[in-house]
Amino acid sequence: MRIGLILPEAPQYSETFFNYKIKCLKESGYDVTVFSGKRTKNKLFFKHSSAYPVYKNKKIGQFVLFFFVLLKTFITAPERSVKLIRKEIKDGNQFFTALKILYMNAHIITHKLDWIHFGYATMSVNRENLSGVMKAKTGVSFRGYDINIYPLKNPGCYMKLWDKLDKVHSISDYLYAKAVKLGLPDNVPYKKISPAVDISLFKFKNDAGVIKTPLRILSIGRLTWIKNFETAISAVKILKDKGTDIIYTIAGFGSEYERLKFAVYQSGLEENIIFSGKKEHKEIAKLMNESDIYIQPSYQEGFCVSVLEAQATGLLCIVSDADGLKENVIDGETGWIAPKRDPEGFAGKITEVINMSFEKRKETALKARQRVEKEFSLEDQKKNFIEFFKD
């Protein structure tokens, strides 16, 4: 079985999810090729092909390349090229737009594939006719941004995709439900495969359930509005004003560092909040081991693997009620849920956990660990991936 995985770029070393998926599929005999938009210099352990470049400023260079790439594609895959162009025109595109679509897919169309799988729904835009032309099946993964936000800016962007799908993968039930609202027919086979945790890397900490002084709180995630660290910063301010001795570490980098740094400065929390930058797995495991409470204040979340890793480590997890997180943490059993965008709510929940008996906290941490081991193991994930592409 030959699978083509379409991604924006070849997964980096740190992107365990895709790397693991590719590894699993390869180990069980699938022939996987990754098609990416950008070229990479990294050493890869899988077959890889990148799209022909699109230049913004070199008009002549672009035209020459465009011409030769199309010529080559028409020679090597004449039937498919013509079919793709016909289909695109039938869908209402201009001839030139159809040629452009052929150009952006020229690195894929010449391959022999049984499955074309879009790693994010966004990757399917302008590639909807590809599998029809290549006589391959079509699969897609829903991950968060692609279903939650991209369609708001591009209404109707998946309408062409929906009726061509053979199978759908989502990291949470909520994302799948949202896709159905966006027009995905509910008779398309669907499989939920949650992210998984490598429990050998995230070991259960010795002092799980203990609250130290100062209280150590941790969050992990990109510094963007989606993660909504502003709410957490305001919550820390409320706690500090009430006299709680607190150190809050935010690990991650992103485009809104300045916005958050200013929030910390304006709230007078420079002594209490640390931006530690982006961390590799081992450092994250270490940070988790040193912390007492993990908070995920996200406004929106597909599922969030960091929260799983925190639960595996035995951190006391307080997360927002963003949809994907409600499937990640069981409120009152493996952690606690606070209303999103509500600093008072988060501060209140943190206080509640501090004032809870040690036994209750320890019990919650243990339950969380057991649930991760049972329901989010790498072995299960592997089985699910392999099954997904069977028959």
């Binding site: 708001l152 509005w225 305001s234 300045e258 740094k261 200013f262 400065y265 304006q266 929106q300 965008r341």
Partner: protein
């Protein structure tokens, strides 16, 4: 009696010609007031100024730039070969390639050729980008303290922070747009005694406007104005609208902001189902804006950072009550329940509560607030007051 000597030549430098609305306003105010204004910077558009404004734009296109640099070089060489030599050394030192060389030379040459008496830097970041000014130009230096450049850019930009600390002590005078921002600048080594607070101003015409105020208990029309940027705090405003909607308050909220609507706000509108209550308009001219303002009941400023937001001053002048966060220098213009409303920063809850308070306010109280707001503008934020402020400012600098 002092006999006025030659008119002072003041360079207003913001990087671009024309500059932002309020700097163009400043140019207009100053040029009518006995100063000769020199403008330097990249030429973005053809501009026509009055006779007291001398504009020396640096061309953007490469061919024109090369010609410009050669011409200006010759002028400087014949004026002072020594200065020309020093200038070339500085420019070569900071230019990594030939393109940068022409850009840098095109920036500094016209300034050296026209030798202003006071070089007034509008954006503090210039002291980091063009330190050669201090080595080459023999004149007084003034720096305006505005918004992000002082309030948060140096928090995450270490090299900017150290540039401020290095050069601020050498600046002859600072113009601060608010008391609040001058306190921030002192942290980077600006001498408190050299800082003058000069508030911005609004056009007198606005003061005669008298739109219908909101009637107690009726549906309310809210408006916010300002570009899409996190510091404008529109996400807090939408959180507040969600609270109001849940409480069953009848309202409509308009945001006037130039540019593409950010994902964050799009997502919030969808998540909160506020499509019927909230409208985001993609910019408009100042005249249109003033017209629109007069159909609204309350101007909301949900920002987390501002100098003193001009739109708040304009609304106060035009008789629209304002609700502002207590950010930057806003408290220097707005006094809670006297001439407007103030809420803490970063609190959607407080915004929602205050809007409710306003809706249920007696009509007489609203009228008082509108009257007091107009008085505040008449007293503190007129063109005349700003003019006098700058006249004293420049006279003091040149006398030093």
């Amino acid at each position: 009696m002092l006999i006025m000597a030659e008119k002072l030549k003041i360079a207003i430098y913001s990087g671009n010609i024309p500059s932002t609305t309020f700097i163009e306003n400043l140019i207009e105010v100053l040029s009518g007031d006995g100063f000769i204004i020199y403008l330097f910077g990249k030429k973005k558009k053809e501009m026509r100024y009055n006779a007291n404004v001398k504009s020396f734009p640096t061309p953007v296109s490469e061919a024109e730039l090369v010609y410009f640099v050669i011409k200006e070089s010759l002028v400087l060489f014949f004026r002072s070969a020594q200065l020309f030599k020093k200038c070339m050394q500085e420019v070569l030192k900071k230019s990594r390639n030939i393109k940068k060389f022409f850009r840098n030379a095109g920036f500094i040459l016209p300034i050296l050729n026209h030798q202003p008496d006071i070089f007034h830097i509008q954006w503090a970041k210039t002291v980091e980008q063009n330190p050669e000014l201090f080595n080459l130009l023999k004149c007084k230096f003034a720096v305006s303290l505005r918004g992000a450049h002082i309030n948060y850019s140096p928090l995450t930009d270490r090299s900017l922070e150290s540039a401020y600390k290095k050069y601020f002590p050498e600046i002859d005078a600072f113009h601060a747009v608010s008391e609040a921002i001058s306190a921030e600048a002192v942290k980077y080594g600006a001498d408190k005694k050299r800082i003058s607070v000069i508030h911005s101003s609004v056009k007198d015409e606005l003061l005669i406007m008298n739109p219908e105020p909101h009637v107690k208990g009726n549906e309310i029309e809210l408006i916010s104005v300002g570009r899409h940027h996190w510091k404008k705090g529109y996400h807090y405003a939408l959180d507040a609208m969600k609270i109001l909607k849940d409480e069953g308050v009848r309202f409509r909220y308009t945001i006037v902001a130039q540019g593409e609507i950010p994902e964050e706000l799009l997502f919030m509108l969808d998540d909160y189902k506020l499509e019927n209550e909230v409208e985001i308009i993609n910019g408009m001219s100042n005249e249109e804006l003033i017209k629109l303002l007069q159909t609204k009941h309350l101007l909301l400023l949900p920002s987390v950072e501002e100098g003193i937001a001009n739109v708040v001053l304009e609304a106060m002048a035009a008789g629209i009550p304002v609700l502002s966060t207590n950010c930057g220098g806003m408290k220097e213009a707005v006094n809670d329940r006297f001439n407007g409303y103030i809420v803490p920063v970063r609190s959607a809850k407080s915004i929602a509560e205050k809007i409710n308070e306003f809706i249920l306010e007696e009509n007489e109280v609203k009228k008082d607030i509108i009257r007091n707001a107009k008085l505040t503008i008449r007293k503190e934020f007129t063109r005349e007051k700003q003019k006098t402020g700058f006249r004293n400012f420049y006279d003091n600098v040149s006398a030093k």
